[in-house]
Symmetry: D2
Subunit: 342 residues, 4 copies
């Protein structure tokens, strides 16, 4: 059985990534592609790398007949997303890739994103889209809120450790190294090649990055008490990838075993042999997440490192994984391609 999907926000990187992935999916058909400002263009004019595919012409959202759509991917900017989703049919299955439905608490949303939430009642329906940890809820959900790409990476490294109580909850530091495609296709001076290549820097200093809202929500829920981590992202001259270097207090071997056991049956999460370091090179373009654990020379301290591709496992791959669950398809369908290296 073939499912018809629509992609809203098809002219951004996560939209294009969805098309790339779905083009190899055995049972999903792209029935509509919306991009307000590019409506009327062919996808090949916006993303020439998709030229070989037969795709619908880009349209405006209100041109889509949603009665023919089985599931809608919403790859719009936050704030826009909640407005658009409010206007969609109330029984349409939706995977949202924006930040709008990630935070259960509207006050937390307003704190981190600066504007009041305008679709609070829909927020209540939303399931947090970290597939490996919300699998059953996602299967039953109408609306799934894709996670932040940084938030996903950090959670893959930490959730089993917090759940198992094997690390000190008050001493968690996440130092993230992020590729530039996470910032999207926006025209900003700091995203220009000449500004970015050949150098790197931290940003959102002092644990002020918005994805902390997700960490706070999820880690605190898991621990049954407030957990606040330190989190410093760095922007690197690379197009795809997130590497989270996480400093924790706990026994490294226990940390490793806890993670290895937690992910033993997960098709996309690979825990490396003890002491080995993952690399974003080895997950690029794929839906895999590699995790390594090492013991520090200082007793009782461990380093956990997680690597994934922000556009795939961190965003559009995760979205397709969730769509598979919602549509009753094999969870891994269309997602088992190997990373591109070199």
């Amino acid at each position: 059985m073939t499912h018809n999907v629509a992609i809203l926000g098809a002219s951004g990187y996560t939209g294009a990534e969805l098309v790339r992935l779905i083009s190899q999916h055995p049972s999903i058909n792209i029935a509509a592609l919306a991009a307000e400002r590019k409506a009327g263009l062919d996808m090949a004019q916006v993303f020439p790398h998709l030229r070989h595919l037969s795709l619908p012409t880009l349209c405006k959202i209100d041109e889509i007949d949603f009665s023919q759509i089985d599931l809608c991917f919403c790859a719009l900017p936050h704030k826009t997303s909640q407005e658009v989703i409010s206007a969609l049919p109330k029984d349409l299955k939706i995977v949202d890739l924006s930040a709008d439905f990630r935070l259960r608490d509207p006050d937390a949303y307003e704190k981190w994103y600066g504007n009041p939430h305008s679709a609070v009642e829909i927020q209540e329906e939303a399931v947090y889209g970290l597939s490996e940890f919300y699998r059953d809820e996602i299967k039953a959900a109408r609306l799934v809120a894709g996670t932040g790409c940084n938030a996903a990476t950090g959670q893959f490294a930490l959730r089993p450790l917090i759940a198992a109580g094997v690390i000190d909850l008050d001493e968690i530091i996440l130092d993230l190294k992020c590729a530039v495609s996470g910032a999207g296709r926006a025209l900003k001076e700091n995203l220009l090649h000449a500004e970015l290549s050949e150098g790197y820097h931290a940003y959102a200093l002092g644990s002020t990055h918005r994805h902390l809202g997700e960490f706070d929500q999820e880690f605190s829920k898991l621990a049954g008490r407030p957990v606040k981590v330190q989190f410093t992202p760095h922007l690197l001259p690379v197009n795809r990838g997130i590497l989270a270097t996480v400093y924790v207090k706990g026994t490294a071997q226990t940390v490793h075993d806890t993670l290895a056991q937690a992910y033993e049956k997960e098709p996309f999460i690979e825990v490396l042999p003890f002491g080995e370091a993952p690399s974003t090179h080895h997950v690029r373009g794929s839906n895999f997440c590699h995790i390594g654990v090492a013991e520090d020379r200082l007793e009782g301290r461990a380093i956990v490192i997680a690597a994934l591709d922000n556009l795939t496992k961190g965003s559009s791959g995760q979205a397709l994984q969730n769509a598979n669950l919602m549509l009753g398809e094999e969870e891994t369908a269309g997602l088992m391609m190997a990373p591109l290296f070199p």
Copy 2:
């Protein structure tokens, strides 16, 4: 029906690329992976990006039971390749990715590669592996000689034009811009990141690059008279891609129409609308070749530009395409993945 294949030279980039592609192929099974110096290791230790696959342990060539193998990919260095292939069963289907069986004339081989050919009798069997132009011969072949990656790119731009007689055969200039993975995983100073990134240069000046042997052979055969092109490759700080900018004398519109018609039914060759420029960005990681044609301001001159991924369409993708033909599979099987962008 599943075909068992062996890959000799699995520790190089083209070997790894074959594994990446075949991992998504519906009816090919990797039964053996050979790499003399890495024998005994798991592929994941040599190429961690393939960690998620269940693959045979790397072995030595003489450990392989070729009676169980339906087709053998030989991704070894030239000269080694002819020695190894000479010793393989004489009825084994082989796709060779080296330069050893590309040139029909042993003297030409010796001229361009510097050593006498030691398997001349096997050379006679070999079919030149440019799938789009030797399709029938490849279907019937036992041994297919994969083309040089630069040679493939230039031929996609030029063969239909030479065949149709629409350009001046004595005034063809190919200016190629090549990514670094074409040079393989060898330890050479000029391939170091610090030497290569942030700059670029020409090499093999004066039309001395070995792939000219292929151009001379194929273009002359096609024209029925000697054709000698100028060819200057440039090394760029990019991992994948070849862009051939070809300067020809002929009517640009005719050039475009000739190419468009020649490739109309080809699944992997896309001729862009007249005047548009292809980019290696838009073919990366895929088996597609994009071709653009423009008219110069100087009357009677045209520019033809072809872009492909040297490791895929230029090498391992081509090899799999040929293997599909030889095994009676759908030619496009395992090869329709979209390019990775960004």
Copy 3:
């Protein structure tokens, strides 16, 4: 004696490059830095790499007291530049880095730039700023028009050959590989890191790039007859550098000797030993231009390759070299720093 200079357009890359260079100049003082939209900011806020310098605060052009200025660098966009320069004191020495005063023929300007020239009378005063070839005129000039960066590169490769009559004037092809900083700090999608890195492509196909206006003017003047070249630029994922691969018909050894002799006493132009290829790596951040010549396998054809840094020798370094000439300083003052490698 110290000369006071003003830099108009200090918030762009060529403005910043001027500051970098002048900061090491023994006898030039930066007295004013203008940037309309950034007026009031410190240069360190716009270009943090210049933080260690004591520089005037950015101001608007009309805040500058030009009576205190000995020479003014104008690093503004074309069209803006002619308007601004029209309003400056008529006896102020000016080095303009824009395209506005490069073309002597106002019709040619309008043809290539799309707008009529609004300062034709000033245009008549302008000297074309290719220091090595207009040295005496530049010394005596009030207004010097800096050349296009691509135009400079091509001319270094070709002028002595055209002047000496050693190549076929109707068969000149320039294939240029250009770094991204040549496009400036403008917010354009194709200049984003995610769009540009890891791939490359040609643009301005068919010899339609504006710098052809300069080639036509200068080469025709030199030859005493119309000379029209083919010129295809390519955009590369590198920040600095231009490599011009020039295909000519002529005797390679003569071509080499002609260039070697022409540049024998030039401090910034290095002709490499016959057959060697220059690299943009080896001129980066410097005012040097490296030129290589090789013989093609096709008789009577040669390849000339020139490499320079578009922001230095191609723009701001050239501008400072011209300013030195205009101010009676040593031509090489502030310009002898070695390239940055790696």
Copy 4:
């Protein structure tokens, strides 16, 4: 007065960087360049970017007449360096760039470097070459041991804080992001462009990197008690730069003020306004170190970030700064060039 210097190990990156810097120095003359395996070549053959300079031909060390040399830079690999220096005249001023004389305790040397120290008596003479903190000792020294590039970066961030007692000495985490030129010009697979570009990873997990020997020595000496930090380096696809993100416990404002005060008069160390993040972009090719401090959302925690160019301030620039001190020259001579951006 002109000083004659020799550079041993001139075919490596730090050797070439010394030549680049000294070429602009007003009173240092390069009298000899040694490179054992490249002896007899011109420097332009080994480093074409230095082609414009008049330099001595590369020679073997034993061909140098050290009686004519005022100071010798030793840019050799560790272990080789101690052997070579043992054989040099005992009154020759030496700046060593290797690891051989950094650690005062021969046991510590053996622990971190794996071989016993063979020149223990010379080790006793050596002064640790962190110019800003050992200025007086360096002025009087015969032998100065240049610091590790990572070690320098971490110390610039931390020394004033440890000295002032404003941070918790048992809770210091250094997460370093390192460019590839720090690994030198060695032929290693992981340094190839195809292996390194487009991705990144941590290495030396668990605080096992050799530069920890320097941190332990210097921080413990400063604190008057053992101080052991956590330190994880990451390899990035960039040629120059080190960014140290340091997580400390202390009052951020105090941390900032302590650093600002400590470096107030230092010509090369710039402490940014509170809350601003430095970037390796803005120090590239220069001898500057930029330091930023921010307050974490978690009370009592601060982030200190230091950025420098590993080849300049982290190695050859530091070496020249020390040579200036040893020779009685202005400390900043030849070192005030602005960073190269973009």
